[in-house]
Symmetry: C2
Subunit: 305 residues, 2 copies
Amino acid sequence: MKNTTKATLYGRREFLASVTGLAGISMATTLPTIALAENLLQTFTVKRVIELILQEVPNAPFPTTVDQLRSGTMDQEVTGIVTTMFPTIEVIERTAKAGANFIIAHETPFYNNQDETDWLQEDDAYRYKIELLNKHRIAIWRFHDYWHAHKPDGIIMGNLLKLGWEKYYDANSPRLLTLPEPTSLKSIVSRTKERLGIPNVRVVGNLDQPCRTIYLAFGYMDSRRQIAAIQQFKPDLILSGETREWETVERVRDGQQIGQKTSLLVLSHSVSEEAGMEYAAKWLQPKVPGIRITHIASANPFTFL
Amino acid sequence: MKNTTKATLYGRREFLASVTGLAGISMATTLPTIALAENLLQTFTVKRVIELILQEVPNAPFPTTVDQLRSGTMDQEVTGIVTTMFPTIEVIERTAKAGANFIIAHETPFYNNQDETDWLQEDDAYRYKIELLNKHRIAIWRFHDYWHAHKPDGIIMGNLLKLGWEKYYDANSPRLLTLPEPTSLKSIVSRTKERLGIPNVRVVGNLDQPCRTIYLAFGYMDSRRQIAAIQQFKPDLILSGETREWETVERVRDGQQIGQKTSLLVLSHSVSEEAGMEYAAKWLQPKVPGIRITHIASANPFTFL
């Protein structure tokens, strides 16, 4: 793969030189033309794209992280990038159809956060997925820990931008959002459904409750941290992606029984971070000129009945 | 506590002797009367009730189990028993009101499966709960691992009885139910909602899909086991309580994309095992004559919107 990539790159530069040579223009004008054309024809390996991303993340690279290459090779030349939440089989098929070969995914392709695959060797969906990735030579890199570690957290900021709440973001307390005035839980439910494109949500709490402070827990977040946050911040609302029912949900319910005001809005995991991966596409685009970046939403798997 | 309990017991027997003595009937008739009356007046400590339960569980007691006494004392005399899924503050208040002092709960009172409390010492809901339990001298014992280890699994059987599916239970493959004929997923959704009293559920799959084999995963179940079951049994449906979205949900979704038929019906944790704890009350009642056992449903905490 490495040799092919280099050969392609070299071939393009040779072609460029021969075209400018044939035009018969002076070096003075040729030089900037070459610079511009080279920029447009610039190629990126998977490794280079990852390096460009890590440059923006404090303390990167991390010694331990799930953000690893899960398929493809570091030195393959990128034909196009897709960002998504879950690299589902459908997302991979649509990536191939779009002519892209690099998926930057927030979540696991292999149904476990550590992306372990030994237990899946006989699993039909896993095998189909691996064959599909190999057939189309598609690289998947997890962009989970680094995107959360970016300042601001890319998932939070992607959501806030869509919700029109980015101006209330507080870098000193990034998970606690304070709205300028209290808004009913009902109205927050409508806003998240409408702006994040979520058909259904689940709530633990009173829909008429006024909410001003919102603890942001998009995706999945450790329950002990959320329960500690209830005690520390006494937020009006926890805005969650996915949470364990025997942990945070029951703590919120008990709190309400003794008069605490903290409610819980559960969006579902995939849709609660999708805006963050859509934002990742926009954020990354200027760093890789000439490479087309598309966001493909893995969307909500659930039907609510 | 131990001395009080013994004193109460002794007092009752003295009273019984004096009543039968006053009646002035012969020993021949008095003896069976005493036996009957003693049975009715029989007292049980928490410890005795637990012993009676463990007698019915293969290989009990287990060296490691979450089924421990979480409040109260082993030797307190039981005034009444409540079975429930989650011993919420509301359930504890209703228990006290009913004059009962022993809650047999399937799930954690302390928002974590191991019932650890060190991290909760400053938590307002935890402190309120502990004070409430102490004030009313209410014992809580987890009946989780032992109830699942009972033959048949008490949670599964409680659900099957309510669903009218108990005759399809197969002791050789207790998690795989085979209906006599295919039923649409839509119709199974209606049946579970109606018979288990669940207002809303979530589905991953096609509502018109015919289902005959159902993999039973009430409550929360390890995703790797569920994913292995998809491969092993190729069930038409997984009937789940709570499951991780990045694990089972995404595996089911990928499977459907490649034409696999396994759908997923998620009931929510509390309501998916409530029938099992209602069944526990009926199952336990004959073992503790004279003790009133009530099932208090902790019910579904969610509003679906």
